[in-house]
């Protein structure tokens, strides 16, 4: 199933690996920050609600 | 407007105005490079156009972040904004003052430093021409960068990061004029493009800079 990459196997592998790592890093960072901010906002809103309620 | 220009020139020349800073830095670059690269005349001759232009560019950049910051700190910027002088005019005059204080001296000193860097004979005229045409753009683009970062903490460092990419076209065309001039090739195209960028910047950037200052004064 693996295609015959010949002498360029390292080059192609490196390119794919680097790109996938960069994309995953970006996605992970974005998702992680989304979670942090969402939780923080919920806490602030709850605190506001308690104060005003 | 003239009064503002005179005031700024007087401020720059007076003690602590930083008049000689840009020049000293330019000299430093011209001295350091041969010490780093080696005295080999052939290599120096090849890289001298680029080094002279990079030196001039960095010297301009060095002295630019104070252009609005000083007035911002002592409140003059607020008062200038409420004075009858349009902010666009104030920005242009300040860029002109910076050019007269830093840009012009660089242009005049560059040939002397060209000797240090073994610039080929034919290159001197083109060095003067390209710097004379290019440094006004460096001043007004730098003024835009300074306007963007006035009032920000560590604005100076940020300004260099913002302004450097904007300097690249001027640098590339400017150095190209000198390189081709030094080899006796036709310099028409890069010279025209260099002049075009300077004209465009001088015409449009003061408006962007004034808008940035108004935002920062809010």
């Amino acid at each position: 199933m693996m295609p015959e990459l010949g002498k360029y196997a390292v080059v192609v592998g490196a390119a794919y690996a680097a790109s996938i790592v960069l994309i995953l890093a970006l996605v992970a960072l974005s998702v992680w920050r989304a979670g942090v901010v969402k939780r923080a906002l919920r806490d602030v809103e709850e605190r506001m609600e308690k104060q005003r309620g | 407007m003239i009064a503002l220009l005179i005031r700024d020139l007087r401020l720059a020349v007076r003690a602590g105005g930083g008049f000689g800073l840009g020049l000293a830095f330019f000299l430093l670059v011209a001295v350091i490079v041969p010490l780093g690269v080696g005295p080999e005349p052939a290599t120096l001759a090849k890289i001298s156009p680029g080094i002279l232009w990079v030196g001039a560019l960095l010297s301009c950049l060095l002295s630019l972040d104070r252009i609005f910051a000083l007035d911002f700190e002592d409140g003059s910027l607020d008062l200038l904004a409420t004075s009858p002088m349009p902010l666009e005019g104030v920005v242009t005059v300040k860029a002109l003052a910076h050019w007269l204080v830093t840009g012009l001296p660089l242009v005049l000193v560059a040939p002397v430093l060209g000797l240090l860097l073994n610039l080929p004979g034919a290159g001197y005229a083109w060095l003067l021409a390209s710097l004379a045409l290019g440094t006004p753009a460096l001043s007004v683009i730098g003024a835009f960068g300074a306007a963007l970062t006035v009032g920000l903490k560590r604005g100076g460092l940020l300004m260099s990061l913002l302004v450097l990419p904007l300097y690249l076209p001027t640098l590339i065309f400017g150095a190209e004029v000198v390189r081709r001039g030094a080899q006796g090739l036709a310099v028409g195209t890069p010279l025209a493009l260099l002049a075009g960028i300077t004209a465009g910047s001088l015409a449009l950037l003061p408006f962007a800079a004034a808008a940035a200052i108004r935002v920062n004064l809010r």
Binding site: A9, A15 | K153, L158, L168
Partner: protein
């Protein structure tokens, strides 16, 4: 239902909340399909050998890097003209994504170039203009970080984006002027001679679709985060004042 309806963050959050899962799913499907198709099922090209497979990352990433900046330019214009908060925050959200695509374009370009040009980095006009684009992205992101007040930050970054676009365009041609260039012609160019063979271009289209969808889903996600962060900042500011 003009886009001005979306100026109100509340409606944008509701709609984007619905859209996000679908767009992300579509992005995953396209990416995986495109890369697998390109990686496993294409023959080696005569001149490039198996390195041609890198095209499925390099070209889409490079295209998206430029499109991302254009999207930010449009968003900045919308902010300056209509004070449309969501568009300013979407520009802020898109910048890191654009920077990542530029880096992917650079890295794959450099790696791919190594066997062909014999060096890891060649000052080739296109690679260099992507390096310059990366600098523009860095400056833009740094300016957003440096300014506390969100509205001031939005104004300043919009002005920088507009002015930066002009100079990025100038740099693109200055760099072409400055070096003759080793880069191959346009893979997807209009004239047939230069256009890469169909067996390669079909997976390429899928990969490009995948990258576009990935960009949209990431920007939607990050914009939602920026809006939440902005709302939290507004609440805390008001609380400090009360």
């Amino acid at each position: 239902m003009s886009i001005w309806e979306y100026a109100n963050p509340k409606r944008f959050m509701q709609t984007s909340g619905v859209l996000l899962p679908w767009v992300t799913a579509a992005a995953l499907v396209c990416l995986i399909a495109g890369l697998i198709w390109g990686f496993f099922l294409t023959p080696d090209a005569d001149k490039f050998g198996s390195t041609v497979k890198i095209i499925y990352l390099h070209v889409p990433a490079a295209m998206m890097a430029i499109s991302a900046w254009m999207m930010m330019l449009v968003a900045s214009l919308i902010w300056i003209i209509r004070r449309h908060h969501v568009s300013a925050l979407s520009a802020k959200a898109a910048a890191p994504v654009g920077l990542t695509f530029t880096l992917i374009g650079l890295v794959t370009g450099a790696i791919w170039g190594e066997p062909m040009w014999g060096t890891w980095w060649a000052w080739d006009p296109r690679l260099t203009s992507f390096l310059i684009l990366a600098l523009f992205y860095l400056g833009y992101i740094a300016l957003w970080q440096a300014v506390e007040d969100p509205d001031t930050a939005a104004d300043l970054t919009s002005v920088l984006c507009i002015v930066g676009s002009v100079f990025a365009f100038l740099s693109r041609y200055a760099v072409l002027f400055w070096n003759q260039g080793l880069h191959q012609g346009a893979s997807l160019s209009v004239d047939q001679a230069e256009h890469v063979a169909d067996v390669y271009s079909n997976p390429l289209y899928v990969c490009i679709a995948g990258f576009i969808l990935l960009f949209v889903s990431l920007v939607l996600l990050r914009t939602r985060t920026e809006i939440r962060a902005r709302r939290m900042q507004a609440l805390l500011a008001r609380e400090r004042l009360a």
